[in-house]
């Protein structure tokens, strides 16, 4: 049995969009981090994480997302989330992620949001 998440990504200018599909636990979180760091190393300034195909992110997964956020902040970049279920949205707010990363309802809004942020 494996519910672990699959991650794919695509570059649009200096923004990388990462899509997740499945349960984000330690393995899913590591998978996201690998993809995110590869995109940052390849020159992406901002990351948009689209979680519309994920219904559960556990606290281990979120702790890895915080590490990704730290790396993005170190590089003066931007990180945005979109497609969150109400429960994931609530959990991100409980943990304070929403203070440092924007949360948008849709991918288009997230892309507009990170594109308008200064480098």
């Amino acid at each position: 049995m494996s519910e672990s998440c699959k991650v794919s990504s695509e570059r649009r200018g200096d923004v990388a969009i990462l899509w997740t599909d499945g349960y984000i636990n330690n393995q899913g979180g590591e998978e996201i981090a690998r993809e995110a760091y590869a995109q940052l190393d390849a020159g992406a300034r901002a990351l948009v994480l689209n979680l519309e195909k994920t219904r559960i992110v556990n606290s281990i997964g979120i702790s890895i997302l915080i590490e990704v956020l730290e790396k993005v902040m170190d590089r003066k970049g931007a990180l945005a989330f979109c497609g969150l279920t109400p429960t994931i949205d609530k959990t991100f707010r409980i943990m304070g992620l929403a203070q440092y990363a924007e949360i948008y309802p849709t991918q288009d809004e997230a892309l507009r949001g990170v594109s308008s942020q200064p480098a």
Binding site: N58, S63, E70, I94, Y100
Partner: protein, 133 residues
């Protein structure tokens, strides 16, 4: 229901909670909150409890309080126990300055469930969580 201490067994447990939530027509978002709280209770035990029997014992109950129906989940481990009063409250700022990015489980459980009761000692830990429909 008893689950072994093993990777992703927490997801097996959430299927049971979801089925009971659906039975009482609990809204999907509330079911998701129960599922995440249950995941957190399970992984806390997996990581920290050092269960003597390598098992987690789960009980699911449905009930009605005044006019509201509820779903209750009990997670019991036979581990070393802990003092919930001494658990340091996490914050993202502490995560940034230090390297301790964990410790969010109890906070998430308390935020997502309507009632939470934690009893812990040398015989193990029992987390009782209730969500109203």
């Amino acid at each position: 229901m008893t689950i072994p201490v093993a990777p992703e067994m927490e997801i097996v447990a959430t299927a049971q909670a979801a089925a009971l939530g659906e039975y009482i027509a609990m809204p999907r978002d509330k079911i998701d909150e129960v599922k995440l709280a249950l995941v957190e209770a399970c992984i806390n035990a997996f990581e920290h409890a050092e269960c003597r029997d390598e098992q987690l014992h789960l009980k699911f109950r449905l009930g009605r309080d005044a006019k509201r129906e509820w779903l209750e989940v009990e997670v019991l481990d036979k581990g070393k126990g802990f003092d919930s009063e001494k658990v340091e409250e996490p914050s993202i700022e502490k995560s940034f300055v230090g390297h301790r990015k964990r410790g969010w489980g109890l906070q998430i459980i308390k935020s997502l469930m309507d009632e939470v009761e934690i009893t812990s000692g040398g015989g193990g830990t029992r987390i009782l969580m209730r969500k109203y429909k």
